[in-house]
Symmetry: C2
Subunit: 453 residues, 2 copies
Amino acid sequence: MEMANDKSEGVLARWGEGLEAKFSKLKAKVIELFRKTKKLAKDDPRRIVHSLKVGLALTLVSLFYYFEPLYDGLGASAMWAILTVVVVFEFSVGATLGRGLNRVLATFFAAALGFGAHFLADLAGDKAQPIMLSLSVFFLATITTFVRFFPRLKARYDYGFLIFILTFCLVSVSGYREDEILNVAYRRALTILIGTFIAILICICICPVWAGDDLHSLVSNNIELLANFLEGFGGQYSNEWKENEVVEECKSVLTSRQTEESLVNFARWEPGHGTFKFRHPWKQYRKIGSLTRQCAYRLESLNTYLVTECQTPLHIRDQLKESCSKMSIESSKALKVLASAIRTMTRPTFPNPHIERSKAVAKDLKAALKIRPCDSGMDLLEIVPMATVASLLIDSISCIEKIAESVGELASLANFKCVEVGKSASMKLEQHQEQKLPTPAIVNGHCHVVTID
Amino acid sequence: MEMANDKSEGVLARWGEGLEAKFSKLKAKVIELFRKTKKLAKDDPRRIVHSLKVGLALTLVSLFYYFEPLYDGLGASAMWAILTVVVVFEFSVGATLGRGLNRVLATFFAAALGFGAHFLADLAGDKAQPIMLSLSVFFLATITTFVRFFPRLKARYDYGFLIFILTFCLVSVSGYREDEILNVAYRRALTILIGTFIAILICICICPVWAGDDLHSLVSNNIELLANFLEGFGGQYSNEWKENEVVEECKSVLTSRQTEESLVNFARWEPGHGTFKFRHPWKQYRKIGSLTRQCAYRLESLNTYLVTECQTPLHIRDQLKESCSKMSIESSKALKVLASAIRTMTRPTFPNPHIERSKAVAKDLKAALKIRPCDSGMDLLEIVPMATVASLLIDSISCIEKIAESVGELASLANFKCVEVGKSASMKLEQHQEQKLPTPAIVNGHCHVVTID
């Protein structure tokens, strides 16, 4: 009896434990979900606003159903307004405008063509009509689907082609059954227009998210991230830096291509806003972005040498170390100037003094290495990592120069404002002073002194 | 009089010329368009087949309108079948299945929820009903829109969430007007099912395009492209190679991330086909792909040193050149073995003999550089490019090792078949013979002889 009691108690206890374990697992999952949701909202609070805007737009269009006078005019076609809002409303103004315009234009063209097909088929007589209609649907769908593969058209008008096929099929085929086809089409077109209008209106009027703004800050941010990496890299011997964070951020530049590409496409739909005019040269951002990634590939290769222990004999190491450190810090400054030029929409000084200085350092280094006779017994292997770092940095300088050029192009295309004279004069002064600082080739007593031209 | 004649003749001649110029411009444009279309079709003939399939599917669903018995059952809801086919039919089977399942499941869930909201609002009385409905639409749309921002859900179920919002709004709101709401909903759901079924059927039965196959060959192809680059790089001093083509192809690896990502998502929807089982480890391809790109970043940095003129003193240059050449050729072979292991779905030999050999070369080179005393008067600068190439190649070897590991993981996850014994024995023999070949450290008489352990 006691044993049986013990057993049942044991079973109960195990059940209890099992339940508790499941409950605590569930609790952990709920907490995790809550944490993720919070992070998602915190990372970009515009997401919450966007969700509320979609809710509002849908509630607005659903009013068509509730108010007698509105519903009488549109009838069941009111459904198309809801459908349009759901499909057209996107996160950024550019995406919404692009989809909206694609939808409206494609609907009108396709409807016109559909009517044409319908009337032509009507002329052919009752028996031939379905065959004519089927053939027209087949050929139009086939050709339009193939056209969707053209990369340039796909990037901007893919949705339009989809709606074109859809509307053409609906209009030409429905015509076979519905007698009041013109009336039906009129009401549908009207509701699609209304839906698009409401979506675009709410998207623009309530806390608009401009793809152009996002693109602008993405591009300048990416340049800034590279600058941070180089700054950290240059200073790594002297002070601590949040290596992992900076490296991870720098890696995010490598994968930014797709986001950038779609932002460019969206931004081109947007009207002028804020400091951006209607025909802002958005395509130039694509060019700057791709050069930034070119530079990021170099830095990604540099990354391996971050933790390399250095045992190179003192004088060479000092020479290389100084030069590398100086080059990366100057490159970092150059990139920071470019990033802030984009951010503040001011013309960057050309030629960029920091680039010139890092080029001078590279030149000095080269000259120093060239004329310095090699000590016998020197371990070549120990120079290799440092030499690699130096080469990659010199490579990055030429990348940065290209970035500077394309930022310059952007500045002239978009008529960036010039820096005020006072500021630029003080910059020149600072530049003048800094140029007088001794270069490492001169500092390192172990080497021949090389003068800069 | 003559002058007037001359003038009018001149005007006519200019008009003629203008017309001719315009005509030839138009002609050139048409030819260009024709050329582009041909290239698009030639690059991937499946595009034509896909377009024809879409045309066929749409023609099939439009039959609902033409045949009396079919139309009587479905009525104007037949429109939803057309809409579904247009929206669901994608290029690959995985994408079509993903969209189809998303659409069907989301429609059913949302319809059930919509009915629930409708009946609840019905209970609240005539006046409160629109308010209740509006509130439910607002909250559901807001929450679902926010959920769409979760990256993981977005990748696979974004379309489903969109349809969920759409259907919920349509059902709950239409319920306010239509009395036969259950009947309407039934017919709509049926037509959506029919449309999805036709789209999936045609997509799978007529020349199916499997995203999994594409992913499989994309990943092995990318590895092969890197191998080609390294092969060309290793042999560049001795023979001519189509530099630009190989380099361009290698650059395409850098931008393959997005394609790969979407192919992984599509492939996961696909049933077993050909040599792939249902739960083929598609996610592992993502890992291999990202490691391949890591390696490609290194090679992209190498690219700069392709055309560097080499003036390093003979003995060192020979040492470095031989080693670099040997390393890149062995790395290239290692990558080719991995690519073909993926392509033929066989287990790669582990450890990979080519990787081991290139590691041995790297080790020899290091040892040789370490113990060889430096000649005085040697120009350090001239070693730097070569040293950089060597470092980057050594770096790539560790990348390639990681790729080999993850290909090994794929092989064991997907149960790749083992190579037959005879073949592997002959491979071992070949390996044995090759290992007896003298390494550059031994060949170059100028250096101390280093034995390999």
